[in-house]
Amino acid sequence: MPPARAAELARELGDAVCLSTCFRTELYLADGDVERAVASLEELAHEPLAAVVYQLHDEAAAVHLFRVAAGLDSLVPGEGEILGQVRAAYDAASPGPLLDRVFRQALRIGKRVRAETAIGESPASVPAAAAALAQQVFGDLNGRRALLVGAGRMGELAAANLASRGASIAYVASRSDPSELAGRFGAVPIDLAAIPRALGDVDLVLTSTSAPTTVVHLADVPSHRHRPLFFLDIAVPRDVDAAVHELDGCYLYDIDDLEAVVAQSLADRREAAAHAEQLVAEEAERFREWQASLEVVPAIAALRARAEEIRTAELAKLGRLPEHERRTVESVTAQILNKLLHLPTVRMKQAAAATGGAEYVDAVRHLFGLEEER
């Protein structure tokens, strides 16, 4: 669902937030009509959704959102885009106090998980792994020049990934006409025969041809170079002579190496996910405490209102006082009230978090005569 349509749907449903990504469409409702929400989704999908819709309520719904924001509910654990998508969904909606609180906490959890665990650090795809390895050699890829050999889809994707990190695709070489692909990257189209010359002018070489034999030979690599040369060979069979890797300053990674790096990265992410789950559990506990404290809020408000009422009534009995004396008396009595009520307020919230809140509320209402106001 496009983000604009998701935001519109959230507004139609009132106090709601709609999170729509490639893999999910989720509606978070504060106290809305679930059946109406499902009907709206079915209308958009033009089909019944009973078989694929799932519903979570109260704390379970909040914890689910926390896991989503932490990237724990994604296909690739720790996937980076989801946190931005949660933020965009939250910004596009007009949530009430409950959803506002839950989404802000979810965004905080997402940031915390990324800061305190390594879940999002390692690459989860071959193009991302290729770029991360190139950064191990060059650091920032900004301004690095690349040669793309082959006009295949995989090579184009990997080249686009390098370009998104600042590298410039300087040349595109292919057996067929590489002009169209070169034009897309703003590169110079060249013949395969011109590869040796281009190798002296680039830092990165990305090969992905379907050629049955080697395309880049050891003899093609210039012997006097002033900078490293990094080869990424994602073709099967290989495009680059394996002996290139033995040259000083030359590094060659083929598709098997890159896939092994990705597999290891995913394993690391899964390991980090266990730590992330602990952080989510901590935050879920905090949410539970907050939710429980809501039970005692009306009693605390009533208690404070009663105390304030008494204070105001007693102040009125003082009659005419000079202005500065009145201010002093008002200040002193307000401080006394605050100090007296501080501990009961804290204790009631603590009791609420420990599931004893109801007894405390009843006791306070009874002791201070608040029940008459219910």
């Binding site: 991360a132 390895l133 191990q136 170079r225 000083d248 300053g249 190496d257 290891q264 990265s265």
Partner: protein
């Protein structure tokens, strides 16, 4: 009465120096151990900071003596050398990506600091018969240059390690993110470019004094000149890749030879 007072004040100074040596050594030792684990490397950085502060205080106590340059013996100069090395490392070595440098710098600092103590270079009762200005120029510049070469060697060591990891194509290569090869090469080159002029000044001061006093040219002077030539050659040729890293390590081997083997006969 006045003699007794001088004696007790010297004892007190020795006590203070002793009290500062151990925290410094402990801090450096803790850092050397902590850097071996990514999990505790942040603690390692605190060890370096606290140890360096303690050593700075120790040097201040030593410098508080009014009767001469306090680091004129080989052991004293080794103490100053360690302080310079760790100080240079602190400038940027504690950044998360460069913490791995601590793996090579801090164990070396611990070992040299301990040797300095065994040689009596961390006490507060040394005296020197040399003039302060000459020693500041000669010892100060030479040691600062050697500290720079030590860091450059550490960078070269990390470069070779990173190069080896990339060559082995291990699947877990991204689990530990080191500074990039180009960054390491660039930093090492800059460190040598700053250090070599310092060594030149230090050597010039030494040769001027040698000419004035008519002293003998000893082995340490000879090897120091060779060291100057190695690093000078490095700056002139700027060899890239593993060749450059090996050249920096060869230069550092000469530094160690000068500092630990030949220094005794020079002072």
């Amino acid at each position: 009465m006045s003699v007794a007072s001088t004696g007790s004040s010297r004892k007190r100074r020795c006590g203070v120096a002793e009290a500062l040596f151990w925290p410094a050594l402990l801090g450096y030792g803790e850092a050397a151990l902590a850097y071996s684990s990514a999990r505790f490397s942040r603690l390692g950085t605190w060890g370096v900071r606290l140890g360096w502060l303690a050593q700075t205080a120790l040097l201040a106590v030593q410098a508080a003596r009014t009767d001469g340059f306090p680091w004129a013996s080989w052991a004293g100069s080794l103490n100053l050398f360690v302080w310079l090395v760790v100080g240079a490392y602190l400038i940027w070595g504690c950044r998360p990506r460069y913490r791995v440098l601590g793996l090579s710098v801090m164990p070396l600092a611990v070992a040299l600091f301990a040797v300095a103590r065994v040689g009596g270079g961390t006490g507060a009762d040394e005296r020197s018969h040399y003039g302060n200005l000459f020693l500041i120029l000669h010892v100060g510049f030479v040691l600062a240059a050697f500290a720079g070469f030590t860091l450059a060697a550490a960078l070269a060591g990390v470069y070779l390690w990173q190069d080896r990891r990339l060559r082995h194509r291990a699947a877990d290569i991204l689990a530990l993110r080191l500074p990039s090869l180009l960054t390491l090469e660039h930093l090492a080159g800059r460190t040598v470019a700053v250090s070599l002029p310092l060594l030149t000044f230090g050597l010039a001061a030494g040769f001027v004094r040698l000419g004035e006093t008519g002293g003998r040219f000893d082995a340490m002077m000879g090897i120091t000149v060779v060291t100057w030539l190695v690093y000078g050659g490095y700056l002139a040729a700027r060899p890239r890749g593993r060749r450059g890293a090996h050249m920096l390590l060869a230069g550092f081997a000469l530094v160690i030879l000068v500092r630990l083997v030949l220094a005794g006969g020079h002072f």
